[in-house]
């Protein structure tokens, strides 16, 4: 068995606010294996982005953070700032949500990519610029020699996200964290950008940690999936397990609320009732309890543990009613 690229072990992140502590991430544990695409799925406030930022140690300074994030044989939460800077952009690189705002508007695109090279590699400025042009070409930006000299506002949204990807893979990172990389883009561009990410991953062998709320994106690219809700992992497993053999009412709810091409004709979308839990005052017991159609009294008293389902231990789910779920789902289908 190979060593995971990164392991989150019992990670908790809390923010002090005027109204009390917000426990954004609660005891989250999962690994990302080399070369795989791991998707973290959840709605706003589920803690998925905070988890990703914690891996880069870019979470707000006021946050209280416990647990471990192991990367390259050490705990990233325990190393000094200087050592962490060597990890950022080199061992772990990040692609952000909105390419329109994630690039510095007053610096040439080439300069921004070359800077990434120069921080971590001892090369000449000229060499770094040549690499920048090569990188732009590798992510499918036409005329890279001319494009490096342009400013971000001269790039379209899709081209900017390609430039972000070029920047992220500049130093051949082991892990690429993509935080909602396609959310701000047109649907037609989304597919292209995902394709570019996939190609870049194949070229560099990097693992990808994909943070998204878009199940369509996950289905297209992910090997494994972690579903988060209310700061906790609710279900984890291979993409097939989570998509087609989900053992969690929340994941089920997510699936039935998105349109699918293979759905029977006339089938209606079923939204999840209610709103995501209040982060300051989460419900007692299971965080999804108040919105869950299968919830009973025990669900409101305590939260369930993450349990293995199936035989090989790869598929895990958090639900009090785990044993009854197949029957409950079947009953719901026929209703």
């Amino acid at each position: 068995m190979t060593e995971p690229v990164i392991s989150f072990d019992d990670l908790s992140v809390s923010f002090p606010t005027d109204d009390g502590m917000v426990r954004a991430v609660r005891n989250v544990s999962f690994d990302v294996e080399p070369g795989e695409v791991m998707a973290v799925v959840g709605e706003s406030g589920s803690g998925k982005s905070v988890t990703a930022l914690a891996a880069m140690r870019l979470h707000p300074g006021s946050a209280e953070i416990t647990g471990e994030i192991r990367f390259g044989g050490r705990d990233l939460l325990g190393i000094g700032e200087k050592e962490m800077r060597r990890v950022r952009g080199n061992g772990i690189a990040m692609i952000f949500q909105d390419p329109m705002t994630a690039l510095n508007p007053v610096m040439k695109v080439g300069a921004q990519i070359a800077e990434m090279v120069l921080i971590h590699d001892d090369v000449s400025k000229k060499e770094a610029w040549t690499r920048a042009a090569d990188l732009l070409e590798s992510v499918g930006v036409p005329e890279p020699g001319r494009r490096v000299k342009q400013y971000p506002h001269e790039f379209s949204g899709g081209m900017r996200q390609r430039a972000m990807i070029a920047m992220a893979i500049a130093n051949g990172p082991d892990l690429l964290i993509a935080d909602e990389p396609t959310t701000a883009l047109d649907v037609t561009i989304q597919a292209q950008v995902l394709e570019v990410m996939k190609t870049a991953q194949e070229a560099t062998g990097a693992a990808i940690l994909l943070i998204t709320h878009d199940l369509g994106v996950v289905a297209g690219i992910a090997d494994r999936v972690v579903v988060m809700y209310g700061g906790r992992v609710f279900e984890s497993g291979s993409a097939d397990q989570v998509f087609y053999r989900s053992q969690n009412p929340y994941t089920r709810g997510l699936m039935s609320s998105i349109p699918r091409l293979d759905a029977p004709k006339g089938e209606r979308l079923i939204p999840i009732p209610g709103t995501p839990p209040n982060v300051l005052n989460p419900p007692s017991g299971c965080a999804f309890g108040p919105r869950c159609t299968f919830a009973s009294d025990s669900c409101h008293e305590s939260h369930a543990e993450l349990m293995s389902v199936g035989f090989d231990g790869t598929h895990r789910s958090r639900c009090h009613k785990l044993a009854e779920l197949p029957d409950l789902f079947a009953a719901a289908e026929t209703r």
Binding site: R88, M94, T101, A102, N104, V106, M116, I119
Partner: protein
């Protein structure tokens, strides 16, 4: 870029005409043009006053569209275009342009060093305050800024005079505010004379500018591209100075242009308090003496400065921000 600048300059001409015309009308309509003389020379008779009014055409309308040649504004404008601002009625009948030129030079001696002190100090305080947001230093800078914004200029001027001139005049063995004349021969003398006025100007302007720079910097520091810069593994120093500062300075350029043009136009309060022979006190006396030619010349200078520096700010915008550069 050149055509853009030329267009901008041409567009200022109607602006200048409206500004001077309005002031001309105000200045010469609200007052009896010889009121000062009536008070200061009780024995003068009406014949003398009438001669003065006739000499300066004070009885003619400011602007008479039916007979433009008869209007004072058109006559004034015609002369101004040829560089003749007329003679002063309050400054010993000297040509207005000579007096304004000397006074403007004096004002520049204060304004130029003051601007550089203000710009660098405000940038330092604003950036520092933003980077250390909500720290004790930030609160201290914020508190002092509000004090600077809230207190009137004359308070600082008078306070500095009392402080260094009376309470602690032994410290440097100087009484800076006693220097009321220019001492061109000695640089040290000059330095003594300009230090306190410059400090006064600095206190007031830095207070507002540093707040503005802090706000601009905070907005930039919390933007996505700064997070990107951090995610690259850049040191915090480089993140601030290489990525944040230039973006934060784009809106500040406008403030600098306005403040610098205001300083060059002469500060009435500061220069008057320190008896500095600049444009500020000159404007004040000219207004009180209903010296229309003088007032018009200074107002025109202030307008040209404001418009000119705004233009410079716009051009600098283009240099700093590629998004608005005209191709």
């Amino acid at each position: 870029m050149f055509a853009y600048a030329a267009r901008r300059i041409l567009a200022t001409i109607p602006l200048l005409i409206v500004a001077t015309l309005g002031l001309f009308a105000l200045e010469s309509s609200v007052r009896d043009p010889v009121a000062e003389l009536r008070v200061s020379c009780p024995r003068c008779d009406q014949v003398a006053f009438d001669r003065l009014i006739d000499l300066y055409d004070l009885d003619k309308p400011v602007l008479d569209l039916s007979n433009p040649a008869e209007s004072r504004y058109v006559a004034w404008l015609g002369n101004v275009i040829t560089g003749d601002f007329g003679s002063s009625t309050s400054q010993g009948e000297n040509p207005v342009s000579d007096t304004v030129f000397t006074r403007a030079k004096n004002t520049m001696i204060l304004a130029i060093p003051a601007f550089f002190v203000i710009a660098s100090l405000a940038t330092f305080l604003g950036v520092f305050s933003a980077v250390r947001q909500y720290s004790k230093t930030d609160y201290a800078i914020t508190g002092l800024s509000f004090l600077g914004i809230a207190m009137p200029t004359f308070f600082f001027g008078l306070f500095l005079q009392v402080f260094w001139g009376i309470w602690f005049h032994d410290w440097f063995g100087m009484r800076p505010f006693f220097t009321s004349q220019m001492h061109d021969d000695s640089f040290v003398d000059l330095l003594k004379s300009i230090t306190l006025p410059i400090v006064t100007l600095t206190l007031v302007v830095v207070a507002t500018e540093s707040r503005f720079i802090r706000a601009s910097m905070l907005e930039v520091v919390h933007s996505d591209y700064i997070r990107t810069a951090r995610a690259k593994g850049l040191s915090e120093r480089k993140v601030i100075f290489k990525h944040a500062l230039r973006n934060a300075m784009i809106p500040v350029v406008t403030i600098w242009a306005l403040d610098f043009s205001a300083l060059l136009g002469g500060s009435v309060v500061t220069e008057s308090i320190f008896s500095w022979p600049g444009l500020g006190p000159l404007l004040l006396t000219a207004i009180f003496a209903a010296d229309v030619n003088m007032v018009m010349a200074i107002i025109l200078l202030i307008s040209v400065l404001a418009i000119g520096f705004n233009l410079i700010a716009d051009l600098l915008y283009g240099v700093l921000d590629p998004r608005i550069r005209i191709s």
